[in-house]
């Protein structure tokens, strides 16, 4: 009898335990700021060509750029259970440029001019996961020897209830200034940079402002296919030329580049990603661009990642680009003295380009080289050729830590 009572009491207690409160950890959201991931991207870029804008459309375009970018992403949740992310980014580029020697050939003793560009940015992103709304605010700064930039942007995104569609709108403003460093033959006591003058090392600055509104719409089509449409509306005003670009006219005289003080650009693009079979992915992109300087451009890009294993993929890619010239472009000694605006910068001429290469990506589950914190390693090489003699090579490395 005692044993039966004890068994019944034991069963009763056990029944209570089944309905007792347990700690539900599935909805726990940390309010402590933690590092989500760290990215380090490093690249080496080298180019050459025969149409230097500094020399009026002729001469070497040799340039090397060592670019480094360090990004830290932190996040936490606030009292209202909204996800807050901080994205800190620091970029440092060191570049050497043979043609920049020719701005003032008397000052430089080494074969190439050099400069350093420092460009940090900070972004704050707030996501209400229940409502599917994300707001982001970003501040940018960039400085190099002849250019300073201060930028600000704000964006808002809305995801549909079934999370198959997302619409984002973004507004961005850059308030920049250009240091007016003229070629040596154009310098006067008023322009700065003239040897022996009191303002030898003082150069004036001119403003350049850029304002843009962007819209993106992404849509999941089915389990293997998703699309994104992108539209930007961009307006620039201020000093839109570069002061050290020479222009040689038909009559043998020489001027510095002069372009209109405003520019309106409309690029529109579409991205499509499709997962073919179990190992192949097709990433395609097309952009149509038009501006009020007369430039029309088409860009078409295809990349086909092949998943050799679930943790290693190879991605060959090819990009085709074509543009018409702006209406103010003419080659060396082709501009008329009566032209209102003039440039011999071949970046604004009519040309086609091909960019092709290959990328390798590894995300081993136990970490790269067995180091758990190194989550991903990606290496990418590309070769770029144009129909106006410019060619370049770029190799980039991305290491991600988690």
């Amino acid at each position: 009898m005692k044993k039966i009572c004890l068994v019944v009491v034991g069963l009763y207690i056990h029944l209570f335990a089944a309905f007792s409160q347990t700690i539900d950890s599935s909805n726990y959201k940390s309010r402590k700021l933690k590092i989500e991931e760290v990215n380090f991207v490093s690249s080496y870029y080298h180019q050459d060509g025969d149409n230097s804008a500094v020399l009026g459309g002729i001469g070497t375009e040799k340039l090397s750029d060592y670019a480094n970018n360090f990004e830290v992403k932190l996040n936490n949740y606030d009292k209202r259970k909204r996800k807050r992310e901080w994205d800190l980014n620091i970029g440092i580029d060191y570049y050497t440029s043979a043609s920049s020697d020719s701005i003032d050939p008397h000052t430089v003793s080494s074969p190439s001019h050099e400069d350093l560009r420092f460009y940090p940015s900070i972004a704050h992103v707030i996501t209400n996961e229940d409502k599917g709304i994300t707001a982001a605010f970003t501040g940018y700064f960039s400085i190099e020897s002849d250019y300073e930039s201060y930028g600000l942007s704000g964006s808002i995104s809305k995801t549909s209830k079934d999370k198959s569609r997302e619409f984002t709108t973004k507004a961005q403003a850059y308030l920049d200034r250009v240091k007016i460093i003229l070629p040596i033959e154009f310098r006067t006591p008023e322009t700065g940079g003239l040897y022996g003058a009191p303002n030898e090392h003082d150069y004036p600055w001119k403003p350049r402002n850029s304002f843009s509104t962007s819209f993106t719409l992404s849509q999941i089509i089915n389990q293997r296919f998703q699309l994104m449409g992108l539209l930007d509306l961009v307006y620039q005003d201020g000093f839109l030329s570069l002061p050290f670009h020479r222009v040689y006219l038909k009559d043998g005289t020489e001027k510095t580049e002069l372009l209109p003080s405003s520019r309106f650009k409309v690029p529109i693009g579409i991205r499509a990603n499709y997962f073919l079979g179990d190992r192949f992915i097709i990433r395609a992109y097309y952009r149509y661009y038009r501006d009020d300087w007369g430039l029309i451009a088409h860009t078409a890009d295809i990349e086909t990642p092949i998943k050799i294993t679930p943790f290693f993929s190879i991605s060959p890619f090819y990009r085709f680009y074509t543009q018409t010239a702006i209406r103010y472009f003419a080659p060396y000694m082709a501009h008329l003295p009566t032209d209102e605006y003039y440039s011999s910068n071949y970046d604004l001429s009519s040309f086609n380009s091909h960019f092709f290469g290959i990328g390798f990506r590894t995300i081993p589950p136990k970490g790269v080289l067995g180091i758990r914190q190194i989550n991903m390693l990606e290496l990418r090489y590309g070769h770029y050729i144009t129909t106006n003699t410019l060619y370049s090579n770029v190799i980039s490395l991305n290491v991600r830590f988690k």
């Binding site: 990215n39 402002n209 962007s214 693009g269 980039s396």
Partner: protein, 75 residues
């Protein structure tokens, strides 16, 4: 040809609208392929320098998540 030029924007809008409305709903557990890192709709981090040199060396920029203009002495 001229008709094609005039009609290309309306044709693009119609195709895009049809594509959006022909979508099949995808549940979270069916998104294993869509969530693959290679399927991200944005550019890769490793492409930063490529986008930068393209904005310097080409007249067109924007509509790719990168620079639209400003921030550098580029086009």
């Amino acid at each position: 040809m001229i008709l094609l030029k005039i009609m290309r924007i309306p044709i693009t809008v119609i195709i895009t609208t049809l594509a959006i409305y022909s979508c099949t709903p995808v549940k979270e557990y069916q998104k294993s392929r869509l969530n693959d890192g290679e399927m991200e709709l944005s550019s890769r981090q490793v492409q930063k320098t490529e986008q930068n040199f393209q904005s310097y060396r080409e007249g067109a920029s924007g509509a790719n998540g990168g620079k639209t203009g400003g921030g550098c002495g580029c086009n």
